[in-house]
């Protein structure tokens, strides 16, 4: 906790500014002051308690609210202990740099305005939580969630008013929005509640997003995100950036505070339980927008749009809200429109930007909370006692509930601004301050007086409606039933209302704090001090006019309702719904027209966009100017093979037979391999040949099940379109490659790699790159292989786990594999078996020559694969190639002897090979971290073996061995799934057909 001593007026203490700049600049300057972070702990306490709400409510029932109230109560107590010092000019700051590299810190700051709002949020929060113990029953559905959300909201509100960082402010701002959404939608089974919650969420988040943009623009313009620094040293307001930023910030603030044209969500939010209305939608959350305006006014009130927007919209909202409140018949909605009206008043006051309007605004802020919260709480009590909130039906409550009636009258008197209540002092101050200003302030004053008249009128209407006789003879009367009002209900209510009465004469107690905040503004006109009685000046006369006019309006209220209905514009609700529906319709039509569900259309669109963009870039840049004379071919062999490859590719297109198409595609693959050889890339060629061979085997294994011919192809014009797209993209791809190479001015990087490899005494440059420079890629791609293999297995083995293949003796099957349908007479089986499970094949399907070849080549191929693996540093090879070669050995055994032969050849689970291989590669990589300096760093082990003499094993060989096992696992997996498993499925089908 850092305390910066109080000093003069208007500016923040110089040390603080320097500290803040230093904090922004870089190295940690104040590691928390070495003391407890009390504010942070208080905010965290709210969230911790909120998280504990569920067990607490289960354990204590509704009394859990008393425990939850501890957090805001502690905050309030702490705030009162700081009152004197802060009023004297002290500022408490705390910061926790949680991501210094990104310059993000949780910076909190308590000054006069922050303290005022803290007391408000904490005090009203604690009292409302106490009230909740009386308001809810133990069996209220979703009580735990409600309690937790309400407590978390109190924490977010506290964070919002204490945040000293723009981003942090935004985070807490949106948190309050989300919690408000959850609280309004508390009883989400009702459609009206869901609609209101969504409406509130949409309006406030749209405003909040605009505000975020505005805050970012301000932060960039001022080169600081620290609010205190930003306000002390506002960015120069020339140009358009700052005014636009301010407009955006105001959009956020005004939407949060339900100022016209964003007012509609607040009356809707009355769907929430009454404690929520009292706390969020009267005392705390809606003050968030006012707080933001009040926070920025000292710096920006003089900048163009600020005063214009706040004064105009504030005054208009005050009149519109008050006028509408005269028409409502629901007690809560009367108060809701009254709140809208008062929020307009507050916006005008804090946005006006002079010292005394700020003084009046801050006082009014507190006053409003002190009268509006108890009024809402009274509505909750009335609702509980009678089951109705309709002023036309309520009757006889003044006699039935005298204490409640008295409380309501106290709060109402403060709302109407009667002496000696705090409301009177605040209103006097407002009138005086506005009168002292310029023309705009004077105009606002007249609107405010009219608004006060409306306030008086709807106050009378509220009190008379709630506690007077029923006014409508047609509707059933609602009277109080049940016993006395619970203490938990009336005590917090009365406490708040009494505060409004006591602080009227005691306004002097508030004055130092309010004046401390107002001192940030320039002083205009004669000095004004907060006091209850200023004598009979102009403000008192204006107040009297407002009271008289209000009383007159109350008398003619029934005519007013008729006029109001006649003059009413189409409701904002309908306009909002219309906007929502139009947005959805537009989205539907757009999506429906673009997204037709056809893969070829999507792909074609993507290709068209790609071609168009590339062609446009080509025609603007004209890179062909760089190309020299083209080099057509290296030798005759190359041109011949290239032509053959191209021809095979083209022939692939019209082919109707699947197998023929596969063979042609395989031809292009082998041809590509030959081109690799000619180009001087034996590693690539070796890999290409093994891959191509394996692919063709896999193709054949699957295609034996699919129809022999492709289904009839698309229409002629679609084929032409596809051909055109193909030609365009192919030409572009080839052309771009050619131009990219032609444009190259620097020597190729490969030469350096060759030199490096030669320096290390290794011979195969490509294999070295793969396990060294591209080791990360190699590892990642091995993982992709493993994933693909697992995918194949899971697509074929649908329900069962695929383990190692069953052996012949386990299955007890003989001579039935690949049985042909038509058996042409008995044939003798070969006398001698060359393979372990050769006799499990159907005799018709056996080939002695193939069995002999398989027997002869299997082991040599395996040895060759190991040779390729371990000699990779010197000869073409490496883990991938070696693994594939070993896999081909398995392929040969499978093709010669069927699935039991495969089980004999590889009596392991493919998954085991995959996992072991991946583990070895990753383990070697991590070993590099231990042995060397980095992941995948290679090391060399030297040892002496009896027979071989000096042996040195680089860790990259171990890495490659992992890749080898993995690739072998992939091939085994594919054979097991697409070979053996499909065999089995075919055999079962045959058996079923015969049966």
């Amino acid at each position: 906790m850092q305390t910066v001593g109080g000093s003069g007026h208007g500016r923040y203490p110089a040390q603080w500014v320097i500290l803040a700049y230093a904090g922004r600049a870089g190295p940690p300057c104040r590691p928390g002051g070495g003391s407890v972070r009390r504010v942070l702990a208080l905010i965290a306490a709210h969230f911790v308690l909120a998280a504990c709400a569920t067990p607490l409510v289960r354990w204590l029932g509704r009394r859990a609210f008393l425990v939850l109230a501890l957090a805001p109560a502690a905050t309030t107590v702490w705030a009162f202990t700081q009152w004197a010092a802060v009023a004297d000019g002290a500022v408490r700051t705390e910061q926790w740099r949680w991501a210094p590299a990104l310059d993000l810190s949780i910076a909190l700051r308590l000054d006069a305005l922050g303290l005022l709002l803290t007391v408000l949020a904490g005090g009203v929060g604690a009292l409302v939580l106490v009230y909740c113990t009386g308001y809810f029953g133990d069996d209220e559905p979703g009580l735990a969630n409600f309690a937790g959300t309400l407590t978390a909201f109190a924490g977010a509100m506290l964070g919002l008013v204490l945040a000293d960082d723009l981003i942090l402010l935004y985070v807490f701002w949106e948190l309050t929005t989300v919690f408000s959404f959850l609280l309004i939608g508390h009883l989400s089974v009702k459609k009206a509640n869901r609609r209101s919650a969504l409406q509130a969420l949409l309006v406030t988040t749209v405003g909040g997003l605009a505000m975020l943009v505005g805050l970012l623009m301000l932060g960039q313009a001022a080169d600081t995100y620290r609010i205190s620094v930003l306000v002390a040293h506002p960015p120069p307001s020339g140009g358009t950036a700052v005014p636009v930023a301010l407009l955006l910030v105001l959009a956020g603030a005004l939407s949060k505070s339900a100022i016209w044209p964003f007012s509609l969500w607040l009356p809707g939010a009355m769907a929430a339980p009454t404690p929520v209305s009292a706390y969020l939608h009267a005392a705390a959350m809606v003050k968030g927008g006012i707080y933001l305006v009040a926070r920025f006014s000292p710096a920006f009130a003089a900048v163009a749009p600020w005063r214009g927007v706040t004064l105009t919209l504030g005054a208009a909202t005050m009149l519109l809200g008050g006028w509408r409140a005269l028409r409502e018949t629901d007690l809560k909605r009367i108060l809701a429109y009254g709140t809208v009206s008062q929020l307009g008043f507050l916006t005008a006051l804090v946005g006006a930007g002079s010292r005394y309007t700020a003084l009046a605004g801050a006082t009014m802020l507190l006053t409003h909370a002190l009268f509006k919260a108890p009024l809402f709480l009274v509505v909750g009590i009335v609702d509980h006692a009678t089951g109705s909130r309709d002023i036309r039906r309520l009757a006889g409550l003044a006699r039935a509930m005298p204490v409640v009636c008295g409380t309501a009258c106290l709060a109402g008197a403060s709302m109407a601004g009667l002496p000696p209540f705090l409301g009177f002092a605040a209103k006097e101050a407002s009138f005086a301050a506005l009168w002292a200003g310029g023309t705009a302030d004077r105009l606002t004053l007249y609107a405010t007086v009219a608004g006060s008249a409306l306030t008086t009128a709807y106050t009378l209407r509220f009190l008379y409606g709630a506690f007077g006789p029923a006014t409508s003879p047609d509707l059933p009367r609602a009277t109080a039933h049940g016993g006395r009002t619970k203490a938990a209900l009336w005590a917090p209510t009365a406490l708040l209302a009494l505060a409004g009465l006591v602080l009227g004469p005691g306004v002097g107690l508030l004055a130092p704090l309010m004046e401390r905040y107002a001192a940030a503004f320039p002083s205009r006109g004669t000095a004004y001090h907060l006091a209850l009685w200023h004598g009979t000046g102009l403000p008192l006369i204006l107040s009297e006019i407002a009271w008289a006019a209000g009383a007159a309006l109350f008398v003619v209220r029934n005519h007013l309702v008729r006029w109001g209905k006649r003059l009413a514009l189409p409701s904002a609700e309908a306009a909002f719904a219309q906007i929502l529906w139009q947005t959805e319709r537009f989205a539907l039509q757009l999506t429906g027209s673009i997204q037709r569900g056809s893969l070829p259309v999507y792909l074609g669109t993507a290709l068209l966009v790609f071609s168009g963009a590339e062609a446009a870039a080509l025609f603007t840049d004209r890179p062909w100017a760089w190309g020299g004379s083209p080099h057509l071919w290296d030798d005759a062999g190359q041109i011949a093979v290239a032509a053959a490859v191209a021809a095979a590719g083209v022939l692939c297109l019209p082919t109707r037979q699947r197998m023929k198409a596969v063979v042609l595609a395989g031809t292009t693959g082998y041809g590509t391999g030959v081109l690799f050889v000619l180009q001087g890339a034996p590693d690539l060629a070796l890999t290409q040949f093994t891959v191509e061979t394996t692919s063709i085997v896999v193709f054949v294994l699957v295609l034996r099940r699919l129809p022999h011919r492709f289904p009839p192809t698309a229409t002629a014009w679609r084929r032409a379109l596809h051909a055109a797209l193909g030609v365009t993209t192919g030409t572009l791809a080839a052309g771009l490659t050619y131009l990219a190479v032609a444009a190259r001015r620097h020597p190729a990087a490969g030469a350096a790699m060759v030199a490096e490899t030669a320096h290390d005494g290794l011979k195969n440059v490509v294999a070295t790159i793969l396990v060294d420079l591209r080791a990360w890629d190699t590892m990642g791609e091995s993982a992709v292989l493993a994933v693909a293999a697992v995918g194949v297995t899971s697509l074929v083995y649908l329900r069962r786990r695929a383990g190692a293949l069953p052996r012949a003796q386990e299955d007890g099957s003989t001579a039935g594999v690949w049985a042909s349908e038509v058996r042409a007479g008995p044939r003798a089986a070969p006398e001698r078996t060359w393979l372990a499970a050769g006799d499990t094949l159907d005799p018709d399907r056996r080939s002695v020559v193939f069995e002999v070849v398989a027997r002869l080549v299997f082991h040599p191929i395996l040895v060759l694969s190991l040779y390729l693996l371990f000699c990779a540093e010197n000869l073409p090879g490496g883990g991938f190639t070696a693994g594939l070669v070993a896999g081909l050995a398995l392929v040969v055994r499978y093709l010669a002897g069927g699935r039991y032969e495969l089980a004999e050849a590889a009596p392991v689970d493919a998954g085991f090979l995959l996992g072991t291989g991946l583990m070895i590669s990753v383990g070697t990589g991590l070993g590099g971290l231990v042995l060397g300096s980095d992941v995948l760093d290679s090391a060399v082990f030297h040892t002496r073996l009896p027979l071989f003499g000096e042996v040195h094993v680089p860790s990259s060989v171990l890495f490659d061995f992992g890749v080898y096992l993995l690739v072998l696992g992939v091939v085994l997996d594919v054979l097991r799934s697409l070979g053996a498993k499909i065999d089995q499925q075919i055999e079962r089908e045959e058996a079923r057909r015969k049966a």
Partner: protein, 161 residues
């Protein structure tokens, strides 16, 4: 530096053929398209190393300046292996699709079609809604009454005219 036109041209033709096959409906064709496209791209990548040279194997007596550029080769090598994984996976998919639908054609996306239908019928949604509500109300009544079986039979056989 200039790439060899023969390699570039072969790569380009394979790329074009691969693209055309990718635009087809049967999964086997799409897969062959991917294979051709992969071969074409590998050729194009290799073509960036310029003229052909000796294999980058530094046995004694090899002139390091005469070997071909090893970098594009290292880039293309893993791509070749990945193509094998892709082939196996897509073939398994084609097989599964054949098991389920009897063909390996890629069908239009049902959700997307539904969105398009909603957009088309957006103008008549009010009428549709009344129809659906009436239908639901009828069903609710039917569930309350004993005629539930009758209603079900109406669904199967059609109601009496």
């Amino acid at each position: 530096m200039n790439a060899t036109v023969a390699l570039i041209a072969a790569g380009g033709v394979l790329f074009a053929c691969g693209t055309v096959l990718l635009l087809a409906r049967p999964l086997t064709r799409i897969l062959l398209g991917a294979v051709l496209l992969g071969n074409g791209v590998n050729l194009l990548v290799l073509a960036t190393s310029g003229r052909s040279g000796k294999a980058p194997l530094l046995s004694p007596g090899t002139d390091p300046a005469a070997v071909s550029d090893p970098f594009p080769q290292a880039m293309a090598l893993t791509a070749i292996v990945i193509t094998l994984a892709l082939t196996a996976f897509l073939l398994a998919m084609a097989y599964r699709s054949w098991q389920l639908t009897g063909s390996d054609d890629v069908q239009d996306d049902v959700e997307d079609i539904r969105v398009a239908l909603r957009a088309e019928h957006e103008g008549t949604r009010a009428e549709l809604r009344t129809v659906i509500r009436a239908d639901r109300a009828r069903q609710a009544r039917a569930e309350d009454s004993e005629d539930l079986d009758d209603e079900l039979w109406d669904n199967v056989l059609g109601a009496d005219r």
